[in-house]
Amino acid sequence: MKFQNAMMAPLLSVMAVAVGFPLMYSLWLGFTSYQLVSGGVADFVGLDNYMRVLSDRDYWASLSATATYVFLSVTFELIIGLTLALALQSQKWFKNFTRSFLLAPMFITPIAVGLMFRFFLNDQLGAIPYYLNQVGLSYDFFGSGRALVSLAFIDVWQWTPFMVLLLLAGLESIPKQPIEAARVDGANRFYIFRRVTLPMLSPILIVAVLLRGLDALKVFEYVYATTRGGPGIETKTIQYLTYQTGISYYRLAEASAMAFILLVIVLGVIILLFRRLERVNIR
Amino acid sequence: MARVTFDNVVKKYGDTTVVKGLNLELPDGAFTVLVGPSGCGKTTTLRMIAGLEPVTSGAIRIGDKDVTTLEPKDRDIAMVFQNYALYPHLTVRENLAFPLRAIRVNRADALKRADAVAETMGLTALLDRKPKDLSGGQQQRVAIGRAIIREPAVFLFDEPLSNLDAKLRVEMRTELLQLQRRLGITSLFVTHDQEEAMTLSDFIVVMRDGEIAQQGKPKDVYDRPNSTFVAAFVGSPKMNLMEGTFSAGKFVADSGLTLAVAGVSAGKKILGVRPDDVILEVGGKSSSRGRVGVIELLGPRAIVQVDASGQSLTAVVESSRMEGIVEGAEVGISIRDSSHHLFDAETGQRV
């Protein structure tokens, strides 16, 4: 076997067992009426599961909630992240410490972050509501209409560092000459940023937004730690709904169908991202 | 110690043919230099001997063994790269000993031999250093030491001196030559510098566009270049080449300059004269006249550029004869007897 293929073989084998096989099996599961006790045998029910899922209003509500969540969190992460990255780039004092410290949140297990905020924002036990009360404000972080935003806020706390990381890398890799040239030409800081830095940064921005967005789609731990889908079904994000359907309600096959629909959406997005990446590289 | 033979070797990258049907034999135990302008295929040829580039068609033999399809490690060769490629994570001693590990020499013996080679190369004081703490010249020595420790059949050098400053280059040239003489291993040295090629080689191969333009002993190639390309490439300063017509003992260049050249049959030809063979006389009786342009003083000699009837000529003049030859001076030009070269006006080949 050619050397390069032999070196790829172990990786491919592991991926086939850990990803490839489950993927195929998941597809099959979606077309059956499988139950955990079936022991590997199940009736083929065609598109029943898919139909049931797609006609369920709760499913669409879930998709909508998830989309809102992704939009909110990624937008804020992008804006805050870019600002922080710019600030960190020209940082001189305590550079390493600041960077390491600001990156720390993304390394914490999400369930811990979720639980931490659950109580930090809890209207009886939490510090923030307490101090808000002191100044006469009262805000129920997990109440109706606000829970989803609070969850997005948790996402922003934990994952802005990831954005900062990518954007810092991007900022440090773009050529300095165009910026210096613009400065010499007399352009002011904001103009330079808008017309020179930002365009050069755009490929990385796109990658960062898409990577982060795809990750945000999978939100589960924050919901599990705080609202468990409530109030009502307001925060029942898609991965949480799938978990509930499969594990709490024992509808494994239907859950598989649900998951596979999400997969198709995700694959669609990354194919687009990939085409974009390739085009940039060719340039 | 072995002959290296190229049997009709062709190398293509996609549709581009980089080496065209090369037939070459490197003499056993000799220092052969492969020289030519960039893109001529010399580095590709070297890498094909090493096994780093696959051969499109043809065969390469080292000694009597056909090595065309063998991995580099099975060819019994050693190579020194342009940037020395020392292993950054190993000390000098370990770098030197490393090739012995491949042939399963035990560690103690390997390190002993490394120390011995280090002494030969004058590296003993540096044995415990890492490559990044060495100067360019020292790194080079380590690279060479690493090549000789296995006593291979063939040495390959890919422009190893190009990264050194001029003075160091000349020093290393001498050292390299002495080393090769002592070891007697067949060596192939690639360079784009024709001066380096001329001083180092027992046997020189000039390449152009994937083919051999001329091969032979350096003196032969210098004295009898077989084409205008080789004539212009070998020798510094460059040979003066003029297109023109011969008739009745005179050469009339297309530019207008007339020179007296005896013993040439009539017709359109290219005349080649080495700057060393151009004689300038202040005043002088020659009917060919010119005006001195730029002068470069090189200590024992000077390179003088002369404008003659619209033709620019380069001459080399001994310092002792420079009296009166100054910028703007009018001089007479003549050519040393029988030192000229003639080339066909169409093909550029020697006649």
Binding site: P10, M15, V19, T109, Y224, I271 | M79
Partner: protein, 271 residues
């Protein structure tokens, strides 16, 4: 010339705010771990007598068994990922094996929603009667750690100069020995960072852990979630559990910060 411009001032203010925003919740949790249930019910308390009872309770529980399991799962996963991933990353970096398809595959595998793979894992675990072991979890962790580690390493392998490999081949080494003896030593820092990063990913996973690990012998994040009853009294011990999960990882992140940039971009920035 030291000009203290408005923009420098606002930059520093911004960073201070950011550091505070990160520190505050963490600090609060740290403090909470020392508070009695009574104190916890009064979030306004500034001065309180710290108690070690929460720590005592958690440290004497079997939380460390869960920690041990997390370590085991993460170590096995990362071990496999580094071996398999470095070979694959080398192949992709040096030879562009599989071209766009392999790069796409690796990217896709990283962003796959766990919900897609978890049910097959669960089902197969039951069929093979492995549902009481940590084996299903390890496989599920492999599904995302291996691609990430591979992606991470590609950039590092691409940075090794070709000449060194050619030199080794000419010096008498076959291609695998060249990889093992010459290329790997050059990428060791990258492998270290990839290992830490992969370890963190595995350590932090809760989704697979929740579904696939046996209820009586679970991994750490799930154990932490177990403190999540709707009773406020569990907050103290939960704070301790949170800190136990957070501290090692945050410390590790300090060491890895520099190489992270090179790895996470894995080709996204430099291609």
């Amino acid at each position: 010339m030291n000009r203290f411009k408005l923009i420098d001032a606002s930059r520093i203010v911004l960073l201070v705010v950011a550091v505070a925003a990160v520190a505050l919740p963490l600090l609060w949790v740290a403090l909470a771990s020392f508070k009695t249930p009574a104190d916890l019910n009064q979030p306004g308390i500034v001065w309180f007598t710290p108690t070690m009872s929460n720590w005592a309770e958690v440290l004497s529980s079997d939380i460390f068994v869960a920690v041990g399991r997390s370590i085991l799962v993460a170590t096995v996963t990362v071990g496999i990922a580094v071996v398999v991933g470095s070979m694959g990353a080398y192949s992709i970096a040096r030879f562009s094996t599989g071209g766009s398809l392999s790069r796409f595959g690796i990217l896709a595998a990283q962003v796959l929603p766990p919900a897609v793979l978890v049910f097959p894992f669960l089902s197969v675990a039951y069929m093979l009667r492995l549902n009481g072991t940590l084996v299903p979890i390890i496989f599920s962790h492999l599904s995302f750690v291996v691609p990430v580690v591979t992606w991470f390493l590609i950039g590092f392998f691409a940075a090794v100069p070709k000449e060194i490999e050619e030199q080794a081949r000419v010096d008498g080494f076959g291609r695998f020995d060249t990889f093992r003896l010459v290329v790997l030593p050059q990428v060791l820092p990258g492998i270290g960072a990839a290992a830490i990063f992969g370890f963190t990913l595995s350590w932090n996973d809760m989704f697979y852990g929740l579904i696939l690990s046996p209820s009586n012998s679970t991994i750490l994040p799930v154990a932490i979630a177990g403190f999540n009853t709707f009773r406020g009294v569990e907050l103290g011990p939960m704070a301790v559990a949170i800190l136990i999960a957070i501290i090692p990882v945050v410390i590790a992140s300090f060491f890895v910060q520099k190489r992270l940039v090179q790895g996470i971009s894995g080709g996204a920035v430099k291609g």
